[in-house]
Subunit: 238 residues, 2 copies
């Protein structure tokens, strides 16, 4: 019985949003046609962005414990709906017996397929300092830039923080501001490179900009991986 | 590290809805203040209602395998956001080293606290044939009745089926019909005793009836259980 493994809780709402996307993306008329999923929602993992910025405790031992847990219960692939934690992607992959999908690669693959240019990258300060989005975009030759400090990144930070605190409306307002500033800088598209941002986007009025949802792209890749292997057609005999 | 265990996937959308309720009900300003949760979303479990009606394969071995999995990874309590599966509550409880919260008891406790009467019970045919809601309501002296066959239960069945197939709007329309019929029969409140029904209720216009959400009451009980034990204040050292 093969299952999708999700290392989540970073944050918890983003994990619920990701699970919802898995369900919505799976063609199914009844329960039994859906994909089996094991979710370890472990919000006690230390703050990823702060750790990358040298301001907090190292979350890697906790991330590895989560990967170990999912391996022990024999999931067939792992998705992590938290962008910043992909700073430790190599370490997690090496410790896992099953593949881990890379959220930024899934996201940039989707952009490359659509040939977007002038892409603004919205993410935590830690994820941007880590640089995995910029490297992936450069490798694909996609023209991209980061928000300015005073007029953009602060709104992105506030958006993420508001969603984590349960205030989606305030998150949406900060996202609108950040998008307005990005559009004024010439952006035609925005990568929502933190999984809290798509939740804020539900309550944001952002016209004229394509929003690329890293959580949705990871969900698409996860469902495709599982459907290709027929995990929705498994007999489960106990 | 104590965690809430969720045996889910019955159906998958109802599990997502339940997880969303866990997050919303937990007072938290940042990720680390949320509750750790392990979800086994296993939609391949055989149809519970059909099995109770003698029309399908027995899901009990699969339910017990799910309970065993959650016990093996040391959850501290188990919630099952599927009413019909509570037909096998005793067998599951006996096989678990940790307590399993009973969705119908949580739901009826909430009604008893509000002293509702003339309550209509909306649930699968299997759950109604099993009778655990009726027994619990009678034990508490709460006046209750079941929908009529032609004018009510068929709409409840269609509502549940529509949500499981992803058509929430159709589900809402059937729920409206079922509620209208219940109100004409004198109902003042409706137990949404199947976890798909609250999803349909998002798109239903039901006035004059109190809707009692079994999934929400199970989530409230789960969060209360975990907060009482301080599971949101655990240090997680690896």
């Amino acid at each position: 019985m093969s299952r999708i493994g999700v290392l989540g809780g970073m944050g918890p709402s983003a994990t619920v949003d990701f699970m919802d996307k898995l369900v919505q993306l799976t063609p199914a008329a009844r329960d039994q046609e859906h994909l089996p999923v094991i979710v370890a929602s472990l919000p006690q993992v230390h703050d990823r962005s702060r750790a990358i910025m040298g301001q907090g405790r190292d979350p890697l031992p906790q991330l590895l414990a989560g990967i170990r847990l999912l391996n022990e219960i024999h999931v067939g692939v792992i998705a992590i709906p938290c962008n910043s934690s992909h700073h430790w992607y190599e370490e997690m992959s090496r410790s896992s017996q099953v593949p881990i999908l890379h959220i930024a690669q899934c996201c940039v693959d989707a952009i490359a397929a659509g040939a977007q240019d002038k892409v603004a990258v919205f993410a935590t300060r830690g994820a941007l300092a880590s640089g995995f989005y910029q490297r992936e975009l450069s490798r694909r030759g996609i023209d991209h830039f980061l928000p300015g400090e005073s007029d953009g990144q602060q709104h992105v930070d506030n958006c993420i923080q508001a969603v984590k605190a349960g205030d989606v409306e305030a998150g949406g307002q900060h996202l609108e501001q950040a998008c307005r500033n990005a559009a004024e800088s010439g952006a035609r598209a925005v990568i929502m490179g933190c999984t809290e941002i798509p939740i804020a986007a539900r309550q944001a009025d952002v016209h004229g900009l394509a929003l690329i949802d890293s959580s949705l792209e990871l969900a698409r890749a996860s469902v495709a991986f599982a459907l290709e292997r027929g995990w929705n057609r498994q007999q489960w005999d106990c």
